[in-house]
Protein backbone atom coordinates (compact mmCIF):
# COMPACT_ATOMS: atom_id res chain seq x y z
CA UNK A 1 0.00 0.00 0.00
CA UNK A 2 1.17 3.48 -0.87
CA UNK A 3 2.26 5.53 2.12
CA UNK A 4 1.72 9.26 1.83
CA UNK A 5 4.33 11.85 2.66
CA UNK A 6 3.39 14.53 5.19
CA UNK A 7 2.81 17.02 2.36
CA UNK A 8 0.45 14.61 0.60
CA UNK A 9 -1.41 14.06 3.86
CA UNK A 10 -1.81 17.80 4.34
CA UNK A 11 -3.06 18.22 0.75
CA UNK A 12 -5.58 15.38 1.25
CA UNK A 13 -6.88 16.91 4.47
CA UNK A 14 -7.01 20.33 2.78
CA UNK A 15 -9.12 18.82 -0.04
CA UNK A 16 -11.59 17.46 2.53
CA UNK A 17 -11.68 20.85 4.29
CA UNK A 18 -12.33 22.59 0.93
CA UNK A 19 -15.15 20.15 0.13
CA UNK A 20 -16.82 20.69 3.50
CA UNK A 21 -16.49 24.48 3.25
CA UNK A 22 -18.08 24.35 -0.21
CA UNK A 23 -21.15 22.47 0.99
CA UNK A 24 -21.62 24.84 3.94
CA UNK A 25 -21.00 28.20 2.23
CA UNK A 26 -22.45 27.57 -1.25
CA UNK A 27 -26.11 28.48 -0.48
CA UNK A 28 -25.00 31.74 1.15
CA UNK A 29 -22.78 32.62 -1.83
CA UNK A 30 -25.52 31.88 -4.39
CA UNK A 31 -28.17 33.78 -2.42
CA UNK A 32 -26.32 36.69 -0.74
CA UNK A 33 -28.00 38.54 2.12
CA UNK A 34 -28.10 41.83 0.21
CA UNK A 35 -30.48 40.55 -2.49
CA UNK A 36 -34.01 39.24 -1.97
CA UNK A 37 -34.02 35.42 -1.92
CA UNK A 38 -36.18 33.90 -4.71
CA UNK A 39 -39.65 32.85 -3.54
CA UNK A 40 -39.01 29.19 -4.45
CA UNK A 41 -35.83 29.11 -2.32
CA UNK A 42 -37.67 30.76 0.58
CA UNK A 43 -40.33 28.07 0.26
CA UNK A 44 -37.64 25.38 0.38
CA UNK A 45 -36.09 27.02 3.45
CA UNK A 46 -39.44 26.67 5.20
CA UNK A 47 -40.42 23.14 4.23
CA UNK A 48 -37.02 21.43 4.04
CA UNK A 49 -36.11 21.36 7.77
CA UNK A 50 -39.04 19.14 8.78
CA UNK A 51 -38.05 16.67 6.05
CA UNK A 52 -34.36 16.93 6.95
CA UNK A 53 -35.08 16.04 10.60
CA UNK A 54 -36.89 12.93 9.31
CA UNK A 55 -33.87 12.15 7.13
CA UNK A 56 -31.52 12.58 10.11
CA UNK A 57 -33.56 10.15 12.24
CA UNK A 58 -33.33 7.55 9.46
CA UNK A 59 -29.63 8.40 9.02
CA UNK A 60 -28.94 7.59 12.69
CA UNK A 61 -30.70 4.25 12.30
CA UNK A 62 -29.13 3.36 8.93
CA UNK A 63 -26.98 0.55 10.28
CA UNK A 64 -29.77 -1.15 12.26
CA UNK A 65 -30.49 -4.56 10.82
CA UNK A 66 -34.06 -5.77 11.22
CA UNK A 67 -33.21 -9.24 9.95
CA UNK A 68 -30.17 -10.07 12.10
CA UNK A 69 -28.57 -9.40 15.49
CA UNK A 70 -31.03 -7.82 17.93
CA UNK A 71 -33.47 -7.06 15.04
CA UNK A 72 -33.59 -3.38 15.92
CA UNK A 73 -35.64 -4.14 19.04
CA UNK A 74 -33.44 -2.06 21.45
CA UNK A 75 -33.70 0.90 19.05
CA UNK A 76 -37.47 0.51 18.72
CA UNK A 77 -38.05 0.27 22.50
CA UNK A 78 -35.72 3.18 23.26
CA UNK A 79 -37.28 5.43 20.63
CA UNK A 80 -40.69 4.59 22.10
CA UNK A 81 -39.35 5.63 25.52
CA UNK A 82 -38.11 8.93 24.05
CA UNK A 83 -41.47 9.61 22.38
CA UNK A 84 -43.53 8.78 25.49
CA UNK A 85 -41.28 10.81 27.81
CA UNK A 86 -41.40 13.74 25.43
CA UNK A 87 -45.17 13.63 25.02
CA UNK A 88 -45.50 13.40 28.80
CA UNK A 89 -43.08 16.07 30.09
CA UNK A 90 -41.76 17.79 26.94
CA UNK A 91 -38.35 18.24 28.60
CA UNK A 92 -35.73 17.75 25.90
CA UNK A 93 -32.93 16.61 28.23
CA UNK A 94 -35.18 14.21 30.16
CA UNK A 95 -36.44 12.55 26.97
CA UNK A 96 -32.92 12.17 25.56
CA UNK A 97 -31.35 10.94 28.82
CA UNK A 98 -34.22 8.50 29.47
CA UNK A 99 -34.00 7.01 25.98
CA UNK A 100 -30.20 6.77 26.07
CA UNK A 101 -30.07 5.08 29.50
CA UNK A 102 -32.78 2.66 28.36
CA UNK A 103 -30.77 1.86 25.22
CA UNK A 104 -27.49 1.39 27.11
CA UNK A 105 -29.16 -1.00 29.59
CA UNK A 106 -30.75 -2.96 26.74
CA UNK A 107 -27.59 -3.38 24.65
CA UNK A 108 -25.28 -4.02 27.60
CA UNK A 109 -27.47 -6.29 29.74
CA UNK A 110 -30.31 -7.76 27.67
CA UNK A 111 -29.27 -8.13 24.04
Amino acid sequence: MATMTLTQQIITIAAVIAGTLTTRFLPFLIFPAGKPTPKYVQYLGKVLPAAVFGLLVIYCLRNVSVLSGSHGIPELISIAVVVVLHLWKRQMLLSIAGGTICYMLLVQLVF
Binding site: M1, M4, Q8, Q9, I11, T12, I13, A15, V16, I17, A18, G19, T20, L21, T22, T23, R24, F25, P27, F28, A33, T37, V41, Q42, Y43, L44, G45, V47, L48, P49, A50, A51, V52, F53, G54, L55, L56, V57, I58, Y59, C60, L61, R62, P74, E75, S78, V82, H86, M92, L93, S95, I96, A97, G99, T100, Y103, M104, L106, V107, Q108
Partner: protein, 256 residues
Amino acid sequence: MTSQEVAGEQVDPTPPPQSHRVRVVVPALKAAFPFTLPIFAGFWFLGLTYGMYMNSSGFSFLYPLFMSMLIYAGSMEFITVSLLLGAFNPVQAFLMTLMINARHLFYGLSMLERFKGLGPKKVYLIYGMCDETFSINFSATIPPDIDRGWFMVWVTLLNQLYWVSGSTLGGIFGSMIHINTEGLDFAMTAMFVVIFMEQWMRDRNHTSSLLGLALSLGCLLIFGADNFIIPSMLVILAVLTLLRGRLEKYGKLGID
Protein backbone atom coordinates in the same frame (compact mmCIF):
# COMPACT_ATOMS: atom_id res chain seq x y z
CA MET B 1 -24.32 46.13 14.82
CA THR B 2 -24.16 45.17 18.47
CA SER B 3 -21.00 47.14 19.09
CA GLN B 4 -22.71 50.27 17.75
CA GLU B 5 -25.56 49.75 20.19
CA VAL B 6 -23.08 49.49 23.04
CA ALA B 7 -21.24 52.61 21.91
CA GLY B 8 -24.58 54.43 21.68
CA GLU B 9 -25.53 53.50 25.22
CA GLN B 10 -22.22 54.43 26.71
CA VAL B 11 -22.85 58.07 25.68
CA ASP B 12 -25.36 58.28 28.55
CA PRO B 13 -23.25 58.06 31.73
CA THR B 14 -25.99 58.10 34.41
CA PRO B 15 -26.59 54.36 35.02
CA PRO B 16 -23.38 52.43 35.77
CA PRO B 17 -22.93 50.89 32.32
CA GLN B 18 -22.87 47.11 32.37
CA SER B 19 -20.41 45.78 29.88
CA HIS B 20 -21.57 44.19 26.65
CA ARG B 21 -20.22 40.92 28.02
CA VAL B 22 -22.38 40.95 31.14
CA ARG B 23 -25.56 42.08 29.38
CA VAL B 24 -25.43 40.07 26.18
CA VAL B 25 -22.71 37.46 25.87
CA VAL B 26 -22.94 35.67 29.23
CA PRO B 27 -26.78 35.36 29.30
CA ALA B 28 -26.62 33.91 25.78
CA LEU B 29 -24.09 31.33 26.97
CA LYS B 30 -26.31 30.40 29.93
CA ALA B 31 -29.31 30.01 27.63
CA ALA B 32 -27.39 28.00 25.04
CA PHE B 33 -25.55 25.57 27.33
CA PRO B 34 -28.49 23.28 28.32
CA PHE B 35 -29.37 22.76 24.66
CA THR B 36 -25.87 21.44 24.01
CA LEU B 37 -25.75 18.85 26.84
CA PRO B 38 -27.00 15.94 24.72
CA ILE B 39 -24.41 16.88 22.11
CA PHE B 40 -21.76 16.79 24.82
CA ALA B 41 -22.65 13.16 25.58
CA GLY B 42 -22.85 12.17 21.93
CA PHE B 43 -19.79 14.10 20.73
CA TRP B 44 -17.54 12.94 23.55
CA PHE B 45 -18.46 9.37 22.85
CA LEU B 46 -18.11 9.66 19.07
CA GLY B 47 -15.07 11.95 19.37
CA LEU B 48 -13.28 9.56 21.72
CA THR B 49 -14.10 6.71 19.34
CA TYR B 50 -12.75 8.70 16.41
CA GLY B 51 -9.57 9.68 18.28
CA MET B 52 -9.02 6.07 19.35
CA TYR B 53 -9.55 4.93 15.76
CA MET B 54 -6.89 7.37 14.50
CA ASN B 55 -4.59 6.31 17.33
CA SER B 56 -4.95 2.65 16.43
CA SER B 57 -4.42 3.51 12.74
CA GLY B 58 -1.00 4.89 13.68
CA PHE B 59 -1.64 8.66 13.71
CA SER B 60 -0.50 11.00 16.48
CA PHE B 61 -3.14 12.94 18.46
CA LEU B 62 -2.24 16.02 16.39
CA TYR B 63 -4.21 14.53 13.49
CA PRO B 64 -7.55 14.21 15.29
CA LEU B 65 -6.88 17.59 16.95
CA PHE B 66 -6.43 19.50 13.68
CA MET B 67 -8.85 17.43 11.61
CA SER B 68 -11.71 17.81 14.08
CA MET B 69 -11.00 21.53 14.38
CA LEU B 70 -10.61 22.27 10.65
CA ILE B 71 -12.80 19.71 8.86
CA TYR B 72 -15.39 19.53 11.65
CA ALA B 73 -17.72 17.07 9.94
CA GLY B 74 -17.82 13.85 11.94
CA SER B 75 -18.59 11.16 9.40
CA MET B 76 -16.21 12.71 6.87
CA GLU B 77 -13.36 12.66 9.41
CA PHE B 78 -13.77 8.92 9.87
CA ILE B 79 -13.62 8.49 6.09
CA THR B 80 -10.56 10.74 5.85
CA VAL B 81 -8.64 8.23 7.98
CA SER B 82 -9.08 5.61 5.26
CA LEU B 83 -8.27 8.21 2.59
CA LEU B 84 -4.98 8.96 4.39
CA LEU B 85 -4.15 5.26 4.47
CA GLY B 86 -4.85 4.81 0.74
CA ALA B 87 -3.26 6.17 -2.43
CA PHE B 88 -2.77 9.94 -2.82
CA ASN B 89 -5.79 11.31 -4.71
CA PRO B 90 -6.89 14.78 -3.51
CA VAL B 91 -9.44 15.29 -6.33
CA GLN B 92 -11.25 12.13 -5.34
CA ALA B 93 -11.10 13.23 -1.69
CA PHE B 94 -12.67 16.57 -2.63
CA LEU B 95 -15.48 15.03 -4.72
CA MET B 96 -16.21 12.39 -2.09
CA THR B 97 -16.53 15.13 0.53
CA LEU B 98 -19.01 17.02 -1.66
CA MET B 99 -21.16 13.89 -1.95
CA ILE B 100 -21.11 12.94 1.71
CA ASN B 101 -21.62 16.47 3.01
CA ALA B 102 -24.20 17.50 0.40
CA ARG B 103 -26.87 17.61 3.13
CA HIS B 104 -25.24 20.82 4.39
CA LEU B 105 -26.72 22.52 1.31
CA PHE B 106 -30.18 21.99 2.80
CA TYR B 107 -29.06 23.45 6.13
CA GLY B 108 -27.73 26.52 4.35
CA LEU B 109 -30.99 27.01 2.43
CA SER B 110 -32.93 26.74 5.70
CA MET B 111 -30.72 29.27 7.47
CA LEU B 112 -30.49 31.91 4.70
CA GLU B 113 -33.07 34.16 6.36
CA ARG B 114 -32.11 33.49 9.98
CA PHE B 115 -28.43 34.33 9.54
CA LYS B 116 -29.22 37.67 7.89
CA GLY B 117 -27.88 40.74 9.69
CA LEU B 118 -25.53 38.87 12.01
CA GLY B 119 -22.35 40.44 10.60
CA PRO B 120 -19.04 38.61 11.08
CA LYS B 121 -20.67 36.02 13.40
CA LYS B 122 -22.37 34.61 10.32
CA VAL B 123 -19.06 33.36 8.89
CA TYR B 124 -18.37 31.20 11.94
CA LEU B 125 -22.02 30.06 12.17
CA ILE B 126 -21.82 28.77 8.59
CA TYR B 127 -18.35 27.28 9.10
CA GLY B 128 -19.45 25.30 12.18
CA MET B 129 -22.86 24.17 10.91
CA CYS B 130 -22.78 20.40 11.48
CA ASP B 131 -25.95 18.27 11.72
CA GLU B 132 -26.36 18.75 15.46
CA THR B 133 -25.59 22.47 15.53
CA PHE B 134 -27.96 23.15 12.65
CA SER B 135 -30.73 21.17 14.34
CA ILE B 136 -30.43 23.11 17.60
CA ASN B 137 -29.99 26.53 16.02
CA PHE B 138 -32.96 25.94 13.74
CA SER B 139 -35.34 24.42 16.27
CA ALA B 140 -34.49 26.02 19.64
CA THR B 141 -36.96 28.55 20.98
CA ILE B 142 -34.59 31.35 21.94
CA PRO B 143 -35.95 33.48 24.85
CA PRO B 144 -36.83 37.01 23.60
CA ASP B 145 -34.37 38.73 25.94
CA ILE B 146 -31.45 36.66 24.65
CA ASP B 147 -29.28 37.84 21.76
CA ARG B 148 -30.00 35.47 18.87
CA GLY B 149 -26.60 35.81 17.23
CA TRP B 150 -24.66 35.10 20.40
CA PHE B 151 -26.96 32.20 21.31
CA MET B 152 -26.20 30.52 17.99
CA VAL B 153 -22.47 31.30 18.24
CA TRP B 154 -22.34 29.64 21.68
CA VAL B 155 -24.23 26.55 20.50
CA THR B 156 -21.82 26.26 17.57
CA LEU B 157 -18.69 26.89 19.63
CA LEU B 158 -19.64 24.61 22.55
CA ASN B 159 -20.47 21.77 20.18
CA GLN B 160 -17.18 22.20 18.35
CA LEU B 161 -15.26 22.28 21.67
CA TYR B 162 -16.91 19.00 22.71
CA TRP B 163 -15.96 17.39 19.42
CA VAL B 164 -12.37 18.67 19.32
CA SER B 165 -11.67 17.84 22.99
CA GLY B 166 -13.29 14.39 22.70
CA SER B 167 -11.35 13.37 19.61
CA THR B 168 -8.05 14.78 20.90
CA LEU B 169 -8.44 12.96 24.23
CA GLY B 170 -9.27 9.80 22.29
CA GLY B 171 -6.08 10.30 20.29
CA ILE B 172 -3.97 10.76 23.44
CA PHE B 173 -5.48 8.18 25.78
CA GLY B 174 -7.01 5.91 23.13
CA SER B 175 -5.20 2.78 24.16
CA MET B 176 -5.93 3.18 27.90
CA ILE B 177 -9.71 3.61 27.98
CA HIS B 178 -11.73 0.62 29.16
CA ILE B 179 -15.15 1.91 30.26
CA ASN B 180 -18.25 0.23 28.95
CA THR B 181 -19.86 3.10 27.09
CA GLU B 182 -21.61 0.86 24.58
CA GLY B 183 -24.83 2.51 23.47
CA LEU B 184 -23.99 6.04 24.66
CA ASP B 185 -24.04 7.24 21.07
CA PHE B 186 -27.80 6.65 21.08
CA ALA B 187 -27.99 10.14 22.65
CA MET B 188 -27.62 11.49 19.13
CA THR B 189 -30.50 9.40 17.76
CA ALA B 190 -32.66 10.35 20.74
CA MET B 191 -31.88 14.02 20.14
CA PHE B 192 -32.93 13.90 16.50
CA VAL B 193 -36.14 12.07 17.49
CA VAL B 194 -36.92 14.86 19.97
CA ILE B 195 -36.13 17.59 17.44
CA PHE B 196 -38.30 15.81 14.87
CA MET B 197 -41.15 15.75 17.43
CA GLU B 198 -40.69 19.42 18.32
CA GLN B 199 -40.93 20.34 14.63
CA TRP B 200 -44.04 18.13 14.35
CA MET B 201 -45.73 19.84 17.31
CA ARG B 202 -44.99 23.26 15.85
CA ASP B 203 -46.28 22.53 12.32
CA ARG B 204 -49.95 22.52 11.44
CA ASN B 205 -49.25 20.48 8.32
CA HIS B 206 -47.08 17.38 8.71
CA THR B 207 -46.55 16.55 5.03
CA SER B 208 -42.88 17.52 5.04
CA SER B 209 -42.06 15.58 8.24
CA LEU B 210 -43.75 12.46 6.92
CA LEU B 211 -42.10 12.79 3.51
CA GLY B 212 -38.69 13.10 5.17
CA LEU B 213 -39.18 9.86 7.10
CA ALA B 214 -40.86 7.85 4.35
CA LEU B 215 -38.72 8.90 1.39
CA SER B 216 -35.45 8.45 3.33
CA LEU B 217 -36.55 5.03 4.56
CA GLY B 218 -37.49 4.05 1.01
CA CYS B 219 -34.10 5.21 -0.31
CA LEU B 220 -32.30 3.40 2.54
CA LEU B 221 -34.02 0.15 1.57
CA ILE B 222 -33.25 0.62 -2.13
CA PHE B 223 -29.73 2.10 -2.04
CA GLY B 224 -28.34 0.78 1.26
CA ALA B 225 -26.77 2.51 4.27
CA ASP B 226 -23.73 3.91 2.42
CA ASN B 227 -25.45 5.44 -0.58
CA PHE B 228 -28.92 6.63 0.39
CA ILE B 229 -28.33 10.26 1.44
CA ILE B 230 -28.03 11.84 -2.02
CA PRO B 231 -31.00 9.92 -3.53
CA SER B 232 -33.06 10.84 -0.44
CA MET B 233 -32.20 14.52 -0.84
CA LEU B 234 -33.06 14.51 -4.55
CA VAL B 235 -36.38 12.73 -4.03
CA ILE B 236 -37.32 14.99 -1.08
CA LEU B 237 -36.44 18.06 -3.16
CA ALA B 238 -38.46 16.81 -6.14
CA VAL B 239 -41.57 15.89 -4.15
CA LEU B 240 -41.55 19.12 -2.12
CA THR B 241 -41.18 21.09 -5.37
CA LEU B 242 -44.15 19.24 -6.92
CA LEU B 243 -46.25 19.88 -3.81
CA ARG B 244 -45.33 23.58 -3.63
CA GLY B 245 -48.71 24.90 -4.79
CA ARG B 246 -50.60 22.70 -2.38
CA LEU B 247 -48.33 23.29 0.64
CA GLU B 248 -48.23 27.06 0.15
CA LYS B 249 -52.04 27.11 0.34
CA TYR B 250 -51.62 26.32 4.02
CA GLY B 251 -50.28 29.85 4.31
CA LYS B 252 -47.47 30.00 6.79
CA LEU B 253 -47.35 26.20 7.10
CA GLY B 254 -47.29 26.80 10.83
CA ILE B 255 -43.58 27.56 10.59
CA ASP B 256 -42.32 31.03 11.38
